[in-house]
């Protein structure tokens, strides 16, 4: 299977095996495809055993940060007398990323199963799945899957006859990129404005409703049933590069490319083959200019860097970027990088929660300057100002939205400076800089 394209022979379809398969959406069809065997097996194990298997598999968070999932789960101390919570982050809103959407659209029960296993492993009786409000179709599919799972006794007060209570609640977001940040999401679930919280305390100590909480991405949780059924060694074996990057990963591909869509490859796959072979290369008569490989918050890569990249957590860092959420945005020779970076800055200015000054002012100021340059009214001093603002926006705020705005701007100027300079023809009179001089 595969959606919107049939799976390529070089893909490793684990999570995407049933994308596009209408019969796999409902509970009966999902069971025929091996659904809930993982939960059944997990409920016969102790929570500590599950955590050990996930640790041994090398699974790392697929939402962006890449933190080892088993270690995250081991921070939760069962039997401490407090209610524990699992929050599944389905607020996918990083520009360029649309993998969780397809998981929820085509294999909603995979996520229900992953959440149930995760909840059991961390000693939680309640799992909240926070789905962004714009995902109307995934919301319908997920609500139906949860209802089916309750009706079949798979979850609820006696999950699969284990005597364990596992409730799964779908929580619909209402339009806020920042709620994909884990502490903002917890505030949102509590019924507050989605402002991120200062850490520490970390969620495992004091998370949602001030209780121990684990937050995992959709793709991470959906991979767990496979690991439980097939074992940690199998998952660990899915690596073409480093033992620190194991398993298969969904990459969403969009922008100026022949075959946009979701592709699942083993980590360590060569990025060049991925772009030119799996995704069909550039559109007819065009050439690639730049790639943002992990959602708009990661540094822009030149084609030279991209073509030398191994697609794993370390490989993208080695080539000047990050794996992030796996949202690959491709720019071709017809795009003006200044215009597109200005648009990215506007996104961050719109989505800033406005809690921290550096972010509230910095994102808006950056956007203003970027748009001025785009419109041919920039000065050479503007580039220095952008660097200075970026410096003041990085590492100085409660969450990383501010840093994320600075990233495309700094990497864009460093790697595509000539495009900026082409728009700045000559130093222009500028009242502010003139007054300072």
């Amino acid at each position: 299977m595969g959606y919107p394209h049939p799976s390529h022979a070089r893909e490793t379809p684990v999570l995407s095996q049933y994308f596009g398969d209408q019969d796999g959406i409902g509970l009966d069809g999902w069971r025929k495809r091996g659904g809930y065997n993982g939960l059944q097996k997990a409920l016969s194990m102790s929570p500590a055993e599950i955590v050990d298997v996930v640790k041994a598999s090398g699974l790392r968070g697929r939402g962006g940060a890449g933190f080892p999932t088993g270690i995250k789960w081991s921070f939760m101390k069962p039997g401490d007398g407090k209610p524990h919570y699992l929050c599944c982050n389905a607020d996918e809103s990083e520009p360029g990323t649309f993998k969780d959407r397809e998981i929820m659209r085509w294999t909603p029960h995979a996520l229900v199963e992953g959440c149930a296993i995760g909840a059991y492993a961390i000693g939680a009786e309640t799992a909240y799945i926070y789905i962004r409000g714009e995902f109307t179709e995934p919301l319908i599919r997920m609500r139906q899957a949860v209802r089916e799972a309750y009706d079949a006794g798979i979850i609820g007060k006696n999950a699969m006859g284990s005597g364990k209570r596992i409730d799964i609640v779908i929580h619909k977001g209402a339009g806020a990129y920042i709620c994909g940040e884990e502490t903002a999401m917890m505030n949102s679930i509590e019924g507050r404005r989605g402002n991120p919280r200062i850490k520490p305390p970390f969620p495992a100590v004091s998370g949602v409703f001030a209780q121990p909480t684990t937050i995992n991405n959709v793709e991470t949780l959906a991979a767990v049933p496979h690991i439980i059924v097939r074992g940690a060694e199998w998952y660990k074996g899915l690596s073409l590069s480093s033992p620190k990057s194991t398993g298969s990963k969904l990459f969403s591909v969009c922008g100026n490319i022949a075959k946009p869509g979701n592709y699942e490859v083993t980590l360590g796959f060569p990025f060049k083959d991925f772009l030119y072979d799996l995704c069909g290369g550039p559109l007819p008569g065009r050439t690639f200019k730049a790639v943002v490989p992990g959602g708009i918050s990661v540094p822009i890569q030149t084609m030279e860097e991209a073509e030398a990249t191994k697609m794993d957590y370390e490989g993208f860092i080695d080539q000047g970027s990050m794996l992030g959420s796996g949202g690959v945005i491709v720019f071709d020779d017809q795009q003006n990088m200044v215009k597109q970076i200005a648009r990215a800055a506007r996104f961050f200015a719109h989505e800033s929660c406005a809690q921290c000054t550096q972010c509230r002012e910095g994102t808006a100021w950056t956007t203003k300057i970027m748009e001025r340059i785009r419109d041919g009214e920039g000065t050479h001093e503007d580039l220095d100002t952008l660097f200075s603002i970026a410096d003041n926006m990085t590492g100085k705020t409660i969450c990383v939205l501010s840093d994320s705005c600075a990233v495309p701007v700094v990497s864009g100027i460093n790697k595509f400076r000539s495009e900026f300079e082409a728009l700045i023809k000559k130093p222009k009179f500028h009242p502010v800089t003139a007054a300072v001089a």
Partner: protein
């Protein structure tokens, strides 16, 4: 695509009566606080009324034992809650970078022109359409995605706009 019709001048009718009240009450056991039900409660108001008025916020405050000011603070944080009446069809076009490089601006232009709205955020004279730009709808591989009320249309180009509008009666 379902459309909500609303009469803006009619006196406010409470939302949380009968079935809606039961629906909200059924959520309470899943959360340790009533406040946590604020997002679902606001969605119910918007689904029934098309937008969330000050009276709507006051009603949510009452059923969840909060203050209207607190509720307003939450409502205004989230972009999907309409604090003004919108057209029968709210058309939201994604124009963030991945869609922008695939021609989203032309799609916005076509919608603005052909709905008669002319300007972003303005409702057409016949009350039928409101067009807005939105940030990333999370369907970048299907550029340009457009949300029309609760419906989602993928891979929209400017050329497809007349056909899409013709389907909205």
């Amino acid at each position: 695509m379902t459309a909500v019709t609303h009469d803006h001048d009619a006196p406010y009718q409470p939302v949380f009566v009968g079935e809606r009240r039961k629906e909200l009450d059924a959520l309470f056991p899943f959360y340790p606080t009533k406040m946590a039900c604020i997002l679902p409660a606001l969605w119910m108001v918007q689904e029934d009324r098309g937008w969330i008025s000050d009276e709507g916020m006051a009603e949510v405050a009452e059923v969840l034992e909060l203050t209207p000011a607190y509720v307003k603070g939450v409502v205004t944080f989230y972009t999907m809650y309409n604090t003004h009446p919108v057209g029968k069809y709210l058309i939201q076009v994604c124009t963030t970078t991945p869609c922008n490089i695939c021609g989203a601006e032309d799609v916005v232009g076509a919608f603005l022109e052909q709905t008669g709205c002319g300007e972003l955020g303005i409702t057409s004279a016949d009350g039928k359409f409101t067009v807005i730009e939105v940030e990333c709808l999370g369907a970048c591989g299907f550029a340009t995605p457009v949300m029309i009320n609760e419906g989602f249309v993928e891979s929209v180009t400017a050329a497809r706009v007349p056909e899409i509008l013709a389907g909205l009666k």
